[in-house]
């Protein structure tokens, strides 16, 4: 097996005295698609937010593409953070587009400021990515002029503009009207088919079953069960997983 691109070793995370991640050990190899499932408050978001350093953690070690993150605010960690965030894209539940910038300028900002790409090339890339996510004709609109599904596709294009090696998705369809979920999942499916390394928190079990190489079930900050979707969904070993799945699959 290839060397992992994301490696979490004995990661522990607290919010105050609340122990939110407990001894997380996880390796993700390039091209792998991980889907993280679990009840609300179990620590799914916190887990993937640790990968790009949006959440600091108190114990253990995370290595992303060779860049190590450790607890505490060391200068080594802050250099790693810079490097990691260039290589890791993130898509949020609430899109978090920049409302004062057009769609095009949302996408062009990071390549120009971080990768020092010229304006023309940044614009060319942005338009190509918008075409790819199916909204090439919306380039000059402002985010609020788009539907939720379109906004989330812009957010995906914005992350892709940095040419990331890993993409993190935190419930990318949870804020969408049901009829728009499909268009966003389609974009994610394509991305998966092209070989992107993905870590996805989602309640879309159909998507998980179809796309995931590995499903991880988290309960109260611990990885309780993991494996290929067919095994986790159809033959869960842990009682907790069974209970969780019977609750979510009922709908």
């Amino acid at each position: 097996m290839a060397d992992p691109i994301v490696e979490m070793k004995d990661v522990n995370k607290y919010f105050g005295s609340h122990h939110v991640l407990k001894d997380i050990n996880l390796e993700v190899v390039p091209g792998e698609k991980i889907v993280v499932i679990g009840a609300s408050g179990s620590g799914k978001s916190t887990l993937i937010r640790c990968v790009n350093g949006l959440e600091p953690f108190q114990g253990g070690r995370i290595v992303v593409d060779g860049h190590p993150l450790e607890p505490g605010n060391t200068s080594k960690t802050s250099r790693s953070l810079q490097a990691i965030r260039r290589e890791v894209g993130m898509v949020f539940q609430q899109f978090n587009l920049f409302p004062h910038r057009t769609v095009l300028k949302n996408i062009m900002l990071a390549p120009m400021r971080v990768r020092k790409v010229g304006r023309n090339q940044a614009e060319e890339t942005a338009r190509r990515l918008l075409d790819r996510v199916g909204i090439g004709n919306q380039a000059d609109k402002f985010p609020t002029q788009l539907s939720g599904g379109q906004q989330q596709r812009v957010a995906i294009a914005r992350a892709l503009a940095m040419d990331p090696r890993v993409m993190l998705f935190d419930e990318p369809t949870s804020a969408l009207d049901p009829e728009m979920i499909g268009e966003v999942l389609d974009v994610m499916r394509e991305l998966a088919a092209e070989g992107m390394t993905m870590m996805v928190v989602t309640h879309e079990m159909g998507f998980a079953r179809e796309v995931a190489d590995r499903v991880i079930y988290i309960h109260e900050g611990q990885i309780v069960e993991q494996g290929p979707p067919a095994e986790v969904f159809d033959n869960p070993q842990s009682e907790r997983t069974k209970a969780f799945l019977s609750r979510v699959l009922k709908h």
């Binding site: 894209g89 609430q94 400021r113």
Partner: protein, 222 residues
């Protein structure tokens, strides 16, 4: 009640005299507010800095200049500070300094509120794209905060323009002072002060209209 007669003529003829005060009123408030804006950005941002050593002096500045009357501030600067400096401060400079320091404290709070009102997802989106903290602030947070700050900044400008009327006491030839001088020779207090009030209204209503125009244009607010 005496047999009072409103003297229209006195009111009209006070106008040219009063107009001489308007440049001072606008100069003190305009220049004062520009410096106040700079102070407000600096101290407003310091007041939300995670480093306590930077935050503490900023909060002290804001509390002191918000918590004391601007009249006391200008008297302190005009009459008090020369004792320390060993030389006089001219009244215009004292007035500008008082407006700058006073509005700076309020604008600090406007800046703080504006920046803190931006959803934290915006910062996270910027950082997750690899932008530095400075670039995230400059390109993501600040432009949005500034738009939200325009209405309260306009409000502060109106307050500061009216505050300059207090500086008549140190003899700056602004609007109220010009009125006082004129009344001293004509004794038409009612007519002249009414005219003074009208001239303040003309200034502040003009500013309000500009601000409303800005808000309608969609460039500011939300």
């Amino acid at each position: 009640m005496g047999n009072f007669q409103f003297d229209w003529q006195a009111m009209i003829s006070s106008i040219p005299h009063l107009l001489e005060g308007i440049p001072y009123t606008l100069l003190i408030s305009g220049v004062g507010l520009v410096f106040g804006f700079v102070l407000g950005i600096v101290f407003g941002l310091l007041s939300i800095n995670p480093i306590r050593l930077l935050r503490w002096p900023a909060i002290a500045y804001i509390e002191v200049f918000r918590g004391t009357p601007v009249l006391v501030q200008v008297l302190f600067i005009f009459y008090g500070l020369p004792e320390v400096l060993g030389g006089p401060i001219d009244a215009l400079t004292a007035g500008i300094a008082a407006i700058a320091l006073n509005s700076g404290a309020y604008i600090s709070e406007i800046v703080r509120g504006g920046v803190q009102s931006i959803d934290k997802g915006q910062r996270e989106a910027g950082l997750s794209l690899g932008l530095s903290r400075l670039d995230t602030f400059r390109y993501v947070i600040w432009p949005q905060a500034l738009r939200r700050m325009i209405p309260p900044l306009g409000n502060q400008a109106i307050v500061s323009i009216k505050d300059t009327s207090l500086f008549a006491v140190i003899g700056v030839g602004e609007l109220v002072r010009q009125g006082q001088i004129y009344i001293a020779t004509t004794f038409n207090a009612l007519e002249v002060y009414l005219m003074v009030a009208i001239l303040y209204l003309v200034i502040t209503l003009t500013l309000s209209a500009i601000l409303r125009g800005l808000e309608r244009s969609g460039l500011v607010g939300q």
